[in-house]
């Protein structure tokens, strides 16, 4: 990915809250209609955020989905409608199968959201979030990210320098890591000196980051919280209730809370798509004018 999408440019804190919220929504949805709507929306979102290449993974997802759905009745034998029996009488029930299908949809949605998370929340953004809440941890994260590639190079250098020495696999590893320990700690002491030279620990720390809170971020944050709460309230009011076992009973269209919850959920998951598409349209119009 060379260019960041418009959604990737919103404040990391907002982005983080949004994705965690989306995961929470998914995990609490066992209503079949809502579950599949969520799956569809997260899939759209995933493709929109991560690019069309992920469409290639679609068959794999389908296979995983099938396996997960079909395996639920194997573990879970309760339910009224028995489709067939196997292993001398172990039942395979329709209810369990349906339940499995919904749960798998939820599972796949969460996985897709983690895919989005991995794409969106780069280490830099995570450090920004940590830096705000826990500055020391943020600093450590940043330092570790600096050290890891640096140490990788040093390991290469040491093993190259030890080329001339024949030794066993394990003694080689031991020698290498012992050497790395001394080298990295000695270097670390210099780093600590350099921090002290630049005033570390002489008082309260200020904070600088390349991210800022813009109006757009506030709007997104507000919408996120509003929609999330709406879904939750509807859920508590029973708008998303569904029971599969022993027999299937689902809240339907006639329940006003169900309708509201569905709308709010779909809107919630559409936020990244709306942001990205608006941006694309804006560019298109600008280019037309020029």
């Amino acid at each position: 990915m060379s260019k960041e999408t418009a959604f990737a440019q919103i404040n990391p804190m907002v982005c983080f809250i949004y994705i965690i919220g989306a995961m929470a929504l998914c995990m609490f949805t066992i209503h079949p209609v809502a579950g599949f709507a969520v799956l569809f929306m997260t899939l759209l979102c995933y493709v929109n955020v991560c690019g069309r290449v992920v469409l290639k993974k679609l068959p794999l997802l389908l296979v995983v989905y099938m396996i997960l759905s079909l395996s639920n009745p194997v573990f879970n034998t309760r339910g009224e409608t028995i489709l067939f029996t196997y292993f001398g009488g172990r039942p395979f029930t329709l209810e369990a199968l349906c339940y499995g299908m919904v749960l798998s949809a939820m599972f796949i949605s969460v996985m897709l959201l983690f895919g989005i998370y991995n794409r969106m929340m780069t280490s830099e953004k995570l450090i920004y979030i940590f830096g705000g809440l826990a500055p020391n941890m943020g600093l450590i994260l940043s330092m570790v990210l600096r050290f890891v590639p640096h140490y990788g190079n040093q390991i290469k250098k040491i093993s190259m320098a030890r080329h001339i020495k024949e030794e066993g696999k394990y003694s080689k590893v031991t020698n290498l890591l012992s050497a790395m320990t001394t080298w990295s700690l000695e270097a670390g002491i210099v780093t600590a000196d350099s921090m002290k030279c630049r005033g570390y620990g002489c008082g309260k720390r200020g904070r600088f980051s390349i991210y800022s809170f813009k109006r757009k971020d506030i709007v997104v944050l507000f919408l996120t919280i509003l929609l999330f709460l709406t879904v939750m309230v509807c859920r508590v009011k029973g708008g998303l209730d569904a029971v599969f076992i022993p027999h299937i009973k689902i809240i339907g269209r006639d329940n006003i809370y169900f309708v509201i919850a569905m709308c709010a959920m779909v809107l919630y998951l559409a936020i990244p798509i709306v942001i990205n598409v608006t941006e694309a349209v804006k560019w298109y119009i600008l280019r037309l004018k020029a």
Partner: protein, 551 residues
């Protein structure tokens, strides 16, 4: 206005009788550019560390240091953090965070500045130092020179009144080093920041300095303007004369009554003035008529090597060939990133070229078994001596590499040769940089190689140590040495053959004298200074000899 005032400062490290600093008296004015020089172990770094409170070493101390008229010790941490900037030697270890922008802001964050102030100052610094293009990069993607520039910029962001630099260019290649030193000069001229620097590339800092301080054994032995310091050292007949810039060395070597030259330009006009009314009796040194390189027995023979790191990468080696005659010291010079080091690695089998062949001692390298190749045959001295150290003492380091029945005596003999005997029980990280380099060399030599490959062996060495290093190399009889180096002066003095490496291959090869006298930019200062008079003077000694004969 006086900035620093050091009065009668003496210091010794714990568990040591020797005084690391001995009655130092020095006054540093605001806006001055001061260079402190001296051989390694003379107390330069210890002195600099005393000017920066958080890293002042603990030990026994007498005397006092005043900053702006008040004792430095009473200054609060925050004021000193911003007022006194300190750039260290190693560009890598000073960097704290993983992003360039974060590194620039780190000091200001520590001082507790608010976001807007930091934003402005970071933007200012990035623009002043030309960092904006790599502002968003990871620091690991930067070159050594860029890293050191980043260190400088992140310190300058705190707007220090004094900038202290401890051998800031010792780990950089020549081009990055002179860029860095020019930036320092620019800071001094444009911002009036006081500069206190230790440096062993005196060639580049001598003329820029207002004053030069020479230290030896913890004492200041000379202090004053560059020219008077030269006089003073000459008068004391001090060994430090050998560290002075080439034109000054030649001047004192010849002994002239004219004004002492400091730069190559001044050196040229000095030669003109001195020899203008004389007809040159001799303008060239005799060439040793060496055999044609291609007719000698080769120790290393590489033919048409092609190499790339990944399948889709660009070729790093593009048909590189070399023939290193037995028993010679062969140097390959060339700029950064031309593939010199890769070439060295492919000769010793660390990188495998996808085309071409390497013969070691007449036998194809692929025919060697690994132990056969590295036992008594081929050894590589890495650039960074620390990458060779795995043990607790120097003795164990050396023993690790020695083999056979005479292990102990081999080690002792090698230690004697490399002057390591008193250090045998020290930890390899507790000895100085030069001593580490000697230990690394001794360790590699204990594998008793017939062929020694060296990658950038003189990096970070001062002039004295280079001489000593060269002496050790000269004493190794029957060993063929192939080295890649940026150090033109060293190659000119000690190498038998020199090759120019460029764009993945060797462009030209010749004896050191012919090679350097043929080039006009990529050559030694002695040659640049004298090429309008003498045809093939390459080293200081050459110029001095020819001058003497013509006077």
């Amino acid at each position: 206005m006086v900035h620093f005032e050091i009065k009668g400062l003496s210091f010794s490290y714990p568990n040591s009788e020797k005084k690391a600093l001995d009655n130092i008296n020095l006054t540093i004015k605001k806006g001055e550019y001061i260079t402190i020089c001296g051989r390694s172990g003379s107390g330069k770094t210890t002195l600099l560390k005393h000017l920066k409170k958080p890293i002042t070493p603990s030990g026994k101390r007498t005397g006092e240091i005043l900053f702006d008229g008040a004792p430095l010790e009473e200054m609060d941490l925050k004021t000193q953090a911003s007022a006194i900037g300190y750039v260290m030697q190693n560009p890598d270890n000073q960097i704290v965070t993983d992003k360039v922008w974060h590194e620039l802001a780190f000091g200001l964050e520590s001082l507790g500045c608010d976001t807007n102030t930091i934003r402005l100052k970071v933007a200012e610094m990035a623009s002043y130092f030309g960092i904006q293009d790599w502002f968003h990069k990871n620091v690991n993607e930067l070159s050594g020179g860029q890293k050191q520039l980043l260190n400088l910029a992140s310190i300058m962001a705190m707007q220090p009144q004094v900038l202290i630099c401890d051998e800031p260019t010792s780990q950089l290649d020549p081009i990055a080093a002179s860029d860095f030193l020019q930036t320092i000069k620019k800071i001094n001229l444009e911002l009036g920041t006081t500069i206190i620097m230790t440096e062993h590339r005196l060639e580049e800092v001598f003329h820029a300095s207002d004053r030069v301080v020479v230290m030896e054994e913890g004492k200041i032995i000379a202090c004053g303007e560059p020219k008077t310091v030269g006089e003073e050292l000459k008068k004391q007949n001090n060994k430090m004369v050998a560290a002075l810039p080439t034109p000054m060395q030649i001047y004192y070597g010849v002994g002239s009554s004219l004004q002492c030259p400091i730069t190559v330009r001044e050196g040229r006009s000095w030669l003109d003035d001195m020899l203008s009314d004389k007809k040159l009796k001799r303008d060239r040194l005799p060439e040793q008529d060496s055999q044609d390189i291609n007719e000698q027995a080769p120790a290393i023979f590489a033919k048409e090597l092609w190499y790339r790191y990944g399948k889709n990468d660009k070729d790093v080696l593009k048909g590189a060939s070399v023939l290193v005659p037995k028993g010679s010291l062969y140097a390959i010079v060339g700029g950064n990133g031309t593939g010199k080091s890769t070439f060295l690695k492919s000769i010793c089998g660390i990188c495998r070229p996808y085309s071409g062949k390497v013969k070691i001692d007449g036998k194809n390298i692929t025919k060697y078994k690994s132990e056969e190749l590295f036992r008594n045959c081929l050894a590589l001295l890495p650039q960074d001596p620390q990458s060779l150290f795995v043990k607790k003492t120097v003795r164990e380091e050396l023993l690790e590499m020695a083999a056979g029945q005479n292990q102990e005596s081999d080690v002792m003999a090698m230690a004697e040769k490399c002057e390591l005997t008193p250090l045998l029980d020290r930890h390899p990280y507790d000895i100085s940089g030069g001593e580490q380099q000697r230990t690394a060399l001794a360790k590699v030599l204990l594998a008793k190689p017939k062929i020694l490959l060296m990658d950038e062996p003189t990096k970070g060495m001062d002039n004295f140590f280079k001489q000593e290093f060269a002496r050790i190399l000269k004493e190794l009889k029957d060993i063929t040495i192939l080295m890649v180096s940026h150090d033109i002066e060293f190659c000119a003095k000690y190498a038998d053959y020199v090759s120019m490496f460029f764009d993945g291959g060797i462009i030209t090869t010749n004896t050191a004298r012919r090679f350097f006298s043929g080039n006009s930019f990529y050559t030694t200062s002695a040659n640049r200074m004298s090429r309008h008079m003498f045809a093939n003077a390459v080293t200081e000694e050459d110029v001095i000899e020819l001058c003497r004969e013509n006077l």
